[in-house]
Symmetry: C2
Subunit: 258 residues, 2 copies
DNA sequence: CGCGCAGTTGAAAGTTTTCAAATGCAGTGG
DNA sequence: CCACTGCATTTGAAAACTTTCAACTGCGCG
């Protein structure tokens, strides 16, 4: 099955036949079977290479929805501001993952998306993309797939929040990150947390202090090593055992290869 | 804008022009703009009138995914069984709502769906439906819409679970049910809970005892009246104020009229 | 009429939060 | 290059909320 991936604007290059690597994030973003004509259409639709600094927004809650965004580098958090002005983190997004699917076909974005560091994204203007999807069944299929995965991931998070202890939630997040790094061919056992403790706590429904204490506890028992945002998972099995009780891990938003 | 709705097998009738009421649940289920030819195609695809008793499953987790289901009467819960054998309720579904969208485009159902009482559903075989969607842009659009709503609803639940107290969670569920009854032209202030306390607690991440205590507390302060599963909301405003702190209420899975 | 499940209630135990305060780290300006 | 300021992280102790355990009540169904 051939694949297409969104690309770096500077390094676009096509190969003959049906395979075409447009981006360094092959397999992660929009891995779908299309022919060359369709690839060209996709290229027309997707705008590449928007760069953002730490703290910049890709889009703000309530602003008119136009596009989804594929993370190319860096990392993002999505969040909602509640009526009393509190921020609620709804997700973290790493390279190869797609932001904004919860706003698909709505007037406005249902959350804000902010860069956690210097990052870049590809823009997927949704209306055009949708048109294209009616013409390319595999594209439609793939997008249904991404969305249903997003639903399942979110369910997963709900379960985590409703039934699991602080330790289990953190173990779950660590494992989720681990898998997502692994998928990008990076070390699954040693990585840098893109987000502050603050956001972790917010996302997992825990006080910052609790997050900190759990990290400390994990460190003391030797399961992980932490220094600031650098984390080493010393015993993934133990972490996995911790969350066995619940059906599975934290959400992992990647576009899983078809 | 014309509408189509899935129907009772016995009372199928078409009206001329572009409006066609196939089911008593008009506006709730699949309200979309289509022409008559398209309506006929939809009718071919959707199987109507499957009846289930209390405790019956529409589908089981891990069984091969074929169809989504629109609730026609009664009510359902969806749930997952965790590795340690615990049940985790992931949602409640009332007439006009669609079950199974989280399994769209997957091999197997990602949860089980069980009738909470004598109920009936319409079956939407997904593969055929998907084909149809590529031919009817509004249908594709509508389904994207339903799915993105499902994502948002699930996010909402996560927020509820991560940041809200027991009282707020229950208030939120009550208001969600209230709105969903209202949408069906039923009383938004007096209704029968389709599910046992058990499932409420499970869904909201609370012990049954806590659910019971909160109901009692609400009753004592006069906000609601409860006798078993019969509930009367005496002061919706107070309930709304309770959950104001969080951005919004509980999930409401209805297909909102386009 | 009685069994069994659903719901309620009380008291103790556990987790997590909150409040307060100290320490570390990083970018800024002198 | 260093001190300074502000934010991030850590830690301790008390307070708050929810769960757990146990027991009791109520209701529906055979």
């Amino acid at each position: 099955m051939s694949e297409i991936t969104i690309t770096n604007a500077n390094s676009t290059h096509k190969t003959l036949g049906s395979t075409c690597h447009l981006c360094s994030l092959s397999n992660l973003c929009l891995p779908i079977a299309v022919n060359n004509t369709e690839i060209e259409r996709l290229e027309d639709v997707i705008k590449q290479g928007k760069v953002l600094d730490r703290g910049d927004h890709i889009f703000q809650e309530h602003s008119p929805f136009r596009s989804c965004f594929a993370v190319r580098s860096g990392s993002f958090k999505t969040y909602i501001v509640t009526e009393d002005g509190e921020e609620q983190v709804t997700g973290f997004y790493l390279p190869g993952e797609i932001i904004g699917m919860d706003s698909t076909n709505t007037e406005a974005y249902s959350c804000s998306a902010k860069a956690l560091e210097k990052s870049s994204v590809c823009e997927i203007p949704f209306e055009q993309f949708e048109d294209l999807a009616t013409k390319i069944p595999t594209l439609q299929h793939h997008f249904f797939q991404l969305m249903s995965r997003e639903i399942r991931d979110s369910r997963q998070l709900s379960m985590l929040l409703s039934k699991n202890t602080a330790e289990e939630r953190i173990a779950s997040l660590l494992l989720s990150l681990s898998e997502r790094f692994k998928r990008r061919k990076l070390s699954p056992t040693h990585f840098r947390l893109p987000m502050p403790r603050n956001d972790i706590g917010n996302y997992l429904g825990l006080a910052v202090e609790t997050v900190s204490r759990v990290f400390t506890r994990f460190q003391k028992t030797g399961i992980i090593s932490v220094q600031g945002r650098e984390v080493t998972l010393n015993d993934i099995e133990i972490l996995k055992d911790m969350i066995k009780r619940s059906s599975s891990g934290c959400q992992s938003k990647e576009a899983k290869a078809n």
